[in-house]
Structures are given as C-alpha cells and as structure tokens.
Symmetry: C2
Subunit: 159 residues, 2 copies
C-alpha cells in the first residue's frame, strides 16, 4: 500500500460515522448498521450497543465480527468506484461507562450528540473492535490486504 492509498484509507475511516457490522446469528451471517468511532491510531473501532439488539445477542455467543465502512453513495455513474474497507477482528464489551473513560465518552457525544440518552440507560455499553486485519478497496481494481501495522501507519500518516 503506497502513501496515497494510506491517505485515502485514513480519510475513509475518519469520515465514516456508520458501519455495517457482521455477526453470526445461529451460525448464519447477520449484517446490521451501527454507529462507529475509530481511535486516533485505528487500533480500536468503538461501537455503542444496546443489549436488546440482535447483534449484541449475537456477540454474547461469538465475538468474531466484520466491520465494513463504505463511502456514501453519491449517485455517481459507477458505485463500484466507492472506497470501502472491511475490518475483521474480535469485539469486547466494556462493562460500565466509567470503565470506558471520560475521553471516549466525550468523543462519542461529540460525534453523536443524540446518543446522550443512551448514557442514562442501563442496556447500552461500549464495545471495542480490535481489527486483526483489513481489506481496503480504494476503487475499482485497487484492492489492498492491510495488516494491523499498516492500519496504524495509515492512521499516523493521515493524521
């Protein structure tokens, strides 16, 4: 992955507020939309999930996830040129918002002001997705396998 691709990847990751989360539901794939916040170094992708949601039930059985971030479809002639990245890894619940820390809570509320109410509800908590690797499609025919180390480098250079 060259410097250009790393910059595109960092831009895509920082701009994406929503992601498609893939979980296992009774052994079958289940994809749902989630709000998402990457850490500055791309080592963690934060989710805030309700225990009542299907994907959270899925995660209580199997923590393996895939997270896909995709540029919003802007109506261009060829949607295959939209940049997207698929992250794969494990999800871990942070029990109790105190444990999550003040700076994460602040960052989350800055990005998602309407989610303030979820900090009053007992069924919401933060989940950390730590990507083991990624697959980045910068556009048609420009596909990169990205290691966690390269992801960190993209975060650093694209800052």
């Amino acid at each position: 992955m060259d410097a250009d691709a790393r910059r595109s990847l960092a831009r895509l990751i920082r701009r994406s507020r929503i992601a498609a989360l893939g979980t296992l539901r009774r052994g079958a794939p289940n994809v749902s939309m989630v709000a998402c916040l990457p850490s500055a170094d791309f080592a963690t992708f934060w989710l805030r999930l309700s225990r009542l949601a299907w994907h959270t039930q899925d995660l209580s059985v199997d923590t393996r996830v895939s997270l896909s971030l995709c540029e919003a479809d802007d109506g261009r002639a060829d949607p295959q040129t939209l940049a997207r990245v698929t992250l794969r890894g494990e999800a871990t619940e942070i029990r109790g918002d105190d444990a999550a820390g003040e700076s994460l809570r602040r960052g989350w509320l800055e990005r998602f002001p309407a989610s303030a109410v979820t900090f009053e509800l007992a069924d919401f908590s933060f989940w950390r997705v730590a990507p083991r690797d990624a697959r980045f499609v910068a556009g048609l025919g420009r596909t990169y396998n990205v290691s966690a180390a390269e992801l960190a480098r993209a975060a650093q250079e694209g800052a």
Copy 2:
C-alpha cells in the same frame, strides 16, 4: 407493519444501489460492499459477482447470506435515524448470462452502465438472493420483523 412503514421500506429498497453483503469466511463473518438490484416484487435481490472476489469464494462454501441496505449518511445530527433493512436468505448462482435472461441484463446495465465490461469477462455471473425474512429499522426505535409475504406486499403497495 403499517402502510406507512411498507412505503418507507419499498422506497429504501428501490433506491439502494449498494448493499453490505454478509458471508461466512472460514466460519467467521465477512462483510463487503456489492452492487444490488431488487426484482419488482422484492422476491429476488440480484448481485453480479466476480469469481475472484472473496465473497464469491465464501458463497462457494456456504450460500447463507445477509444483505443490509442503508440510507446514505447525509450528515444529519443522528445517524441512528437512517432507515435500513437487513435481509436474510440464500444466494444461488445463475450460470451463464444467457440463463439470466435479457430483461435482467438490461435492468442491470440501466442501473450500472459501467458494468458493461463485466459481460465480456468470464469470471462474472449473476447471483440471486431470495430473502427468507427481513428486519426493517425505519428509524430510531421503529423496528419491524418482516416476512417474505410482507416484503411482497410492500413491493406491491409501494410500486
């Protein structure tokens, strides 16, 4: 699901050109972006996949899929209000574009003109995703479990 929700669902499905496809990759979830075209009755969601792509390799092992269509993030204050639907079912390859039929080929090219080149390449084929059921989130807190029959009704009323 009331008539209003059925109309919103039909609109979301007809407008979405891209979807997040969930497959199983060595037993773990894998999510990737695909171009998508629904049939008029929502009984089939057409994909056009390259045999070289990861998701197609996944489908050659296990045909169970989840397909998530989501309104494009327009930067609104609360992205949780974006409408989205998750379909679950099986994917079946249509071997040979002749078997797919002229009207599907025409419909696909109308929606994705840049994909004309894929009809010259041997590694692309159509895949039919037949949804067994769906889960529709019309917005914050408005979630519906949707049967295949209700999906058909949404297609009919929202036409």
